[in-house]
């Protein structure tokens, strides 16, 4: 598997296995995820790409029957070691979900939630600045600056998803995980969010799970193809889509199954 190593490695995963009860969902996978770039996970439904994503910030911990083995190193620290508090980890590794899930609070409070619980702001002015910066980075500031006290649930689907991204950014994470962030959005909203993700990829380590090969092609620098719990192929996006090595990848990318 050939790699371009222009960006530093953020996540180094070796021999990762995940079980849900008796189901072996992820089978002994190795992958290195690079900083300051977008990495896309693609594959047919139920291939384990979302499960793998949720390992990266230990969201799987919230599911009782889920068991994870192997080594996952974030900047060289094992995130499953006893010293790592998942709460601290999740502050460093932010996440955006498939369905926009703004809290039933005002737009301002949604974005300010993370900074508040983590104590990122010393005073109200700090907090205002973080909210404005985050909403700006999510490209939402101009749309909502006059109604920050309005409930976040009142926004349109695309705006809600960008609000969730702003919420994640406001916590000042190092990594952003996105679990099919556009699958619940209409094409126009999708385009806006895609642009946003592309921009975020220049500053963060972004990992995105997507169903859409076009999307992966448009916004990611590297792409990993999962099938039945196995990481089949991982390479630059260009390589995966132009010269796939594995015949399963060939089949999927050319649209023969999936």
């Amino acid at each position: 598997m050939q790699m371009t190593d222009d960006d530093p490695i953020k996540f180094r995963c070796q021999g990762v296995n995940v079980w849900y009860g008796d189901t072996h969902a992820i089978k002994d996978n190795d992958i290195d995820i690079h900083d300051k770039s977008v990495t896309a996970f693609i594959g047919p439904s139920g291939c384990g790409k979302s499960t793998f994503l949720r390992c990266l910030n230990r969201m799987n911990d919230t599911i009782d029957i889920c068991r994870v083995t192997g080594t996952l190193l974030l900047d060289g620290d094992d995130i499953y070691s006893r010293d790592i508090d998942p709460v601290q980890l999740r502050a460093r590794v932010g996440m955006v979900f498939q369905k926009p899930n703004p809290f039933p609070k005002s737009i301002y409070d949604n974005v300010a939630y993370g900074p508040r619980i983590h104590g990122l702001a010393r005073n109200r002015a700090d907090l205002d600045a973080i909210v404005e910066d985050s909403l700006g980075a999510a490209g939402l500031w101009d749309e909502v600056k006059d109604r920050l006290a309005a409930p976040g649930t009142g926004l349109s689907g695309g705006q809600q998803q960008r609000l969730c991204i702003a919420r994640a950014i406001a916590t000042k994470p190092e990594v952003l995980l996105m679990d099919e962030p556009c699958s619940a959005l209409d094409p126009i909203a999708t385009e806006t969010v895609e642009e946003l993700i592309e921009g975020l990829g220049r500053r963060y380590c972004v990992v995105i799970v997507t169903h859409s090969m076009q999307q992966a092609n448009r916004i990611s620098q590297r792409t990993a193809f999962f099938h039945l719990g196995n990481l089949v192929e991982y390479d630059t996006t260009d390589a995966i889509f132009s010269t796939p090595q594995d015949e399963r990848t060939v089949g999927y990318v050319s649209g023969r199954f999936g």
């Binding site: 709460v87 996440m95 969730c164």
Partner: protein, 453 residues
């Protein structure tokens, strides 16, 4: 006699079914498909109408004739008697005729007894004959209609649907019955006693001196009752809300599946225990315990303290609050929890900042329903709270409640018609207060459902 009539109608119903079915079978001969409806429906149609006609007349007749007999009994009384005396003579006369205990026997009562005896004999005999007759008539008429093109199934189903609708209407009838019966007696009561005296008076002993004549409007002030109810309700909620809410939080977000499988049934057991058992527990165990503990600390705790009743009532309401809160907390979508955890929030932060605000309407409605229960709860306070109307905010003293006074008035020794006035007025007040809480709670829940369903 009436039992026999009922049995006869039942028999006729069965007979009607069999006869009509057989007749339909016979009519169809070898080609059953000729019939519009299958024989069973012909049988069912006749049987249904026979039963409705027979039992309907029996029941309706009983109600109507009972009212008529009552009017006849009162009509035959000598003039110039007070209402209470008339009631007494009639009830004694009926008792004499039935052979049970009467308070006195005199000429007027004997006359009532004789009249009652004659009329009931007539009533029972007449009703039995009439209802069986009508059943037979309906049966014959129904049999006559059995024919090949007769749309028995359609008609049968129409009757069934009407019966279904009437059943659904019984809920409405019950509400109307409650309001009408409570309101009727209450209005009579308020025609003698000013409403304001009842609602804002601070002295409650409605039956003192009532034997000498009318009720004293200065002695029917229900404020001490309302205050006592409020005090006990507040104590109960102080116990039930934190315990119930924290239990629900623990169950929904901290407990393992195994712990849940033990704790939930435990709370359900607590919910299933009859209130009379709680009352016994309060009176026999908790009240003496509090009194002794108080004495050891140099406090004088009444042996029927509001505290004992309130604490036990709180225990009773714990499962109520916890299960309703558990439901609404679980109904908060997992995606909101994920969103919060994904930002690096702890469970406590997620619960306090995301889940509780989202579940607040549901929790509020649980609390309101709990309050409504506490206000209407009877047995615990009857057994563990006091009887004396004592206007105090001290939880260590004995207080009385609305429900205690209703029970005391209705089960007391005073003439039923006298005690009914204040009792029904209290009942009506209770109904109105709990109704407000219930509707408020249902509204909140509906709003909550609209958000998350």
């Amino acid at each position: 006699m009436l039992t026999w009539a009922a049995l006869a109608i039942l028999l006729l119903t069965v007979a009607g079914f069999l006869l009509a079915r057989n007749r339909a079978v016979a009519l169809a001969g070898d080609t059953p498909s000729l019939l519009h409806s299958r024989p069973v429906y012909h049988g069912g149609y006749v049987a249904l109408w026979t039963a409705i006609a027979g039992f309907g007349l029996l029941l309706l007749g009983l109600i109507v004739t009972n009212i008529l007999i009552g009017m006849a009994l009162y009509g035959g009384l000598p003039a110039g008697l007070s209402e209470i005396e008339r009631d007494l003579i009639v009830s004694d006369g009926v008792a004499l005729s039935r052979g049970t205990l009467a308070s006195r026997t005199d000429e007027a009562r004997q006359a009532v007894a004789a009249l009652y005896g004659r009329l009931t004999t007539l009533q029972i005999g007449g009703l039995a004959l009439a209802s069986v007759g009508v059943a037979v008539f309906t049966l014959m008429r129904g049999l006559g209609r059995v024919a090949i093109p007769f749309r028995a199934r359609t008609r049968f189903e129409r009757v069934v649907q009407t019966l279904l609708m009437i059943s659904a209407g019984i809920a409405v009838l019950t509400t109307i019955g409650i309001v009408a019966s409570l309101l009727g007696q209450t209005l009579v009561f308020f025609s003698e006693i000013p409403v304001l005296n009842f609602l804002f008076g601070t002295h409650w002993s409605p039956l003192s001196g009532v034997h000498e004549g009318a009720m004293d409007p200065q002695k029917v002030g229900a404020i001490p009752l309302f205050a006592g109810t409020l005090l006990i309700t507040v104590i109960a909620m102080v116990v039930a809300v934190p315990v119930g809410l924290f239990s629900a939080i623990y169950l929904s977000d901290f407990a393992s599946a195994r712990a849940r499988s033990i704790i939930k049934p435990m709370l359900e057991i607590l919910a299933g225990i009859p209130t009379v058992v709680y009352g016994f527990f309060a009176a026999i165990t908790v009240a003496p315990f509090l009194r002794d503990t108080g004495a050891a600390m140099g406090l004088s705790v009444s042996s029927e303290s509001a505290l004992a009743a309130g604490v036990v009532m709180g225990i009773m309401i714990i499962p109520f609050i916890s299960s309703l809160s558990d439901d609404v907390i679980n109904a908060v979508p997992q995606s909101l929890r994920d969103g919060s955890y994904g930002l690096g929030a702890t469970k406590a932060e997620t619960i306090r900042n995301v889940i509780l605000p989202a579940a607040l309407p549901g929790i509020m409605s649980a609390v309101l329903l709990g309050v409504s229960r506490a206000i209407g709860e009877t047995m615990i306070v009857v057994m563990a709270a006091g009887q004396g109307a004592n206007l105090t905010a001290n939880p260590l003293e004995a207080v009385t409640t609305v429900t205690v006074q209703i029970v005391a008035l209705i089960t007391g020794d005073t003439e039923a018609s006298t005690a009914a006035g204040p009792a029904f007025a209290l009942g009506f007040t209770l109904f109105c207060i709990t109704l407000i809480f219930n509707i408020w709670a249902l509204r909140l829940v509906r709003k909550y459902r609209e958000v998350y369903d």
